[in-house]
Amino acid sequence: MKELFKELIKHKIGCASLIVIFILVVLALFAPYLSPYDPFEINVNEILLPPSLKHPLGTDLLGRDVLSRMIYASRISLEVSLVAVGISIGIGVFLGSLAGYLGGIVDQIISRFIDIMLCFPTIFLILAVIAYLEPSILTIMIVIGATSWMGVARLVRAEIMSLKERDFVLIAKVYGAGTFRIIFRHLLPNALPPVLVSASLGLGQAILIESALSFLGIGVQPPIPSWGNILIEGKETLEIAWWLSVFPGLAILITVLAFTLLGETLQEIMNPKKEMK
């Protein structure tokens, strides 16, 4: 792990994405100390002010400071994407290793289930499920996680399948290790690198989906700020307040780009055979 980090620092793009992610994490953790204003404070005298020294990113329809709201929104985005990716890795690793290790009918059923889930365009599936539940931060975390595990499952399955015939597994079996012990102690640690890569890519995708849902009005609900729901106001005030649309979108783009490039760099470092581009 330490060596991986050292390699990452040496890599120009990897290092840059790490710095962006680090800044984001600091902003999210210390939001109350770093944001210049209260993100919920309504000020009728300062409605839709353009960026200035006092409000670097301007103010919104209710006179709230956009910079402060965006700093608090980074909290929400990171929270949602971390939990969602946690869920999707959990399901993916569990089903993938079962299918890969047990093979036969179990593999058939799980693989077919993966194929079926892949037929649903993610956004349609998420919309359909959310229609039945109250939109809340918890709901979207679970729904995003539960609809994005298929890639991880396939990856882990393939990885475990190629590993399970190796000698060290046989030796573990001879020593009487049970199925779960073999999977979790001996096989999964070897499948970690590709999972790490897809976790990083998944974080970016989860942020994209969260912001899209919030923009569509079924994700994070106002007054809680999210980059996606600030953009709702941005669309309504397109003609008079460019700052409400430009900045939140840039924040999403840069964040997702950082997670994607981090994932790509990890892949390049851990699997030098595969080219990056």
């Binding site: 956004i123 994209l208 997702v256």
Partner: protein
């Protein structure tokens, strides 16, 4: 080939059944059952009337009976009636919108290929050049770009600032009927530029990356080395030997990219006010119009499945190795 087709067809049927089971289970996730939006907060609905409704929709029967009834319905394209005020049959609502969505997605798929193939091939041939670097940058920005933001920025620049393009709808509402054919086509084109740009940009990244990498790998392989050693001109090596092998698997990649493309319709149709199934889905979710939601979910995943199936067959027709392997 016949064995291959039969096997694929069987998988298609099993997957289709799986799709119906998952769609059906989602209906019954609703707290208070699928009728809750009709009955909740409606003082006019008495417990007796509710009971009657439950009976009418067959909700008092065991789940497998309900599933069977629903399945029989969808074979006849009977998805029930919409919960909205007009209470129209769901299929009628979808029928008039499906062509719009399919048309825009087909057009953007065509544009994606038109851009991705030459750009990807050229990048691979000139690997590590400045052009290749641009391709990489385009790919990653494409991956990370929130499509709804791209749509808003396009509206802001071309619709509001420059006032070149209209920002909503498929065609003008005022004076559209008086236009002649050419004016109508021009009117549609102007309305479609922004949505098409958003749809194409979103799907381009994956395909472009695939073409570039596939071509790059093929150019490094032994048979290309051999072709060059034979003294074949570079043009023949690239366009005849390499390109064919590099682009074959693209058929599958296109099949796999359908869900992403169609999913994007929800976003650009909602933003640009285009009357397709994506917008219908969003409106139905906002209004909790469950029959429309379920029908949409089922139909879109069915079309995705069909697309993948056709891609599989196309690939097998084009590449004999595949159909021989999977016998």
């Amino acid at each position: 080939m016949i064995a291959f087709l039969l096997k694929r067809f069987l998988t298609l049927i099993i997957t289709l059944l799986g799709i119906t089971i998952i769609s059906f289970s989602i209906i019954h996730l609703a707290p208070g059952g699928p009728l809750s939006p009709l009955t909740e907060f409606n003082p006019k609905i008495t417990p007796e009337y509710r009971k009657k409704l439950v009976k009418m929709y067959g909700l008092d029967k065991p789940l497998y009976v309900q599933y069977w009834k629903w399945l029989k319905g969808i074979i006849k394209l009977d998805f029930g009636k919409s919960f909205s005020l007009d209470q129209r049959p769901v299929w009628d609502k979808i029928k008039e919108r499906l062509p719009v969505t399919l048309f825009i997605n087909a057009l953007s798929l065509f544009l994606i290929l038109l851009i991705a193939i030459p750009m990807g091939v050229y990048s691979a041939v000139k690997a590590e050049s400045a052009f290749d670097r641009i391709t990489t940058v385009v790919t990653f920005i494409g991956y990370a770009m929130p499509s709804f933001w791209l749509a808003i920025i396009l509206m802001m620049i071309f619709g509001v600032k420059l006032q070149w393009l209209p920002i909503s709808g498929l065609h003008s509402t005022i004076g559209y009927d008086e236009m002649n054919l050419f004016q109508k086509i021009w009117d549609w084109t102007k309305h479609l530029i922004c949505p098409l740009f958003v749809a194409t940009f979103g799907g381009l990244a994956g395909v472009l990356r695939y073409v570039r990498n596939s071509m790059y790998e093929v150019l490094k392989s032994d048979f290309i080395l051999f072709a060059r050693a034979k003294g074949l001109p570079e043009r023949v090596v690239i366009y005849k030997h390499a390109l064919r092998n590099a682009l074959l698997p693209l058929i599958t990649i296109l099949g796999l990219s359908i869900p992403g493309l169609v999913g994007g319709s929800v976003i650009f149709e909602t933003i640009f006010g285009i009357p397709g199934v994506g917008q219908l889905m969003w409106q139905a979710v906002m209004a909790r119009d469950y029959p429309v939601i379920m029908a949409n979910l089922f139909l879109i995943s069915f079309l995705t499945l069909l697309g993948n199936f056709l891609a599989d067959i196309g690939y097998a027709l084009a590449d004999p190795r595949i159909r021989l392997e999977s016998k």
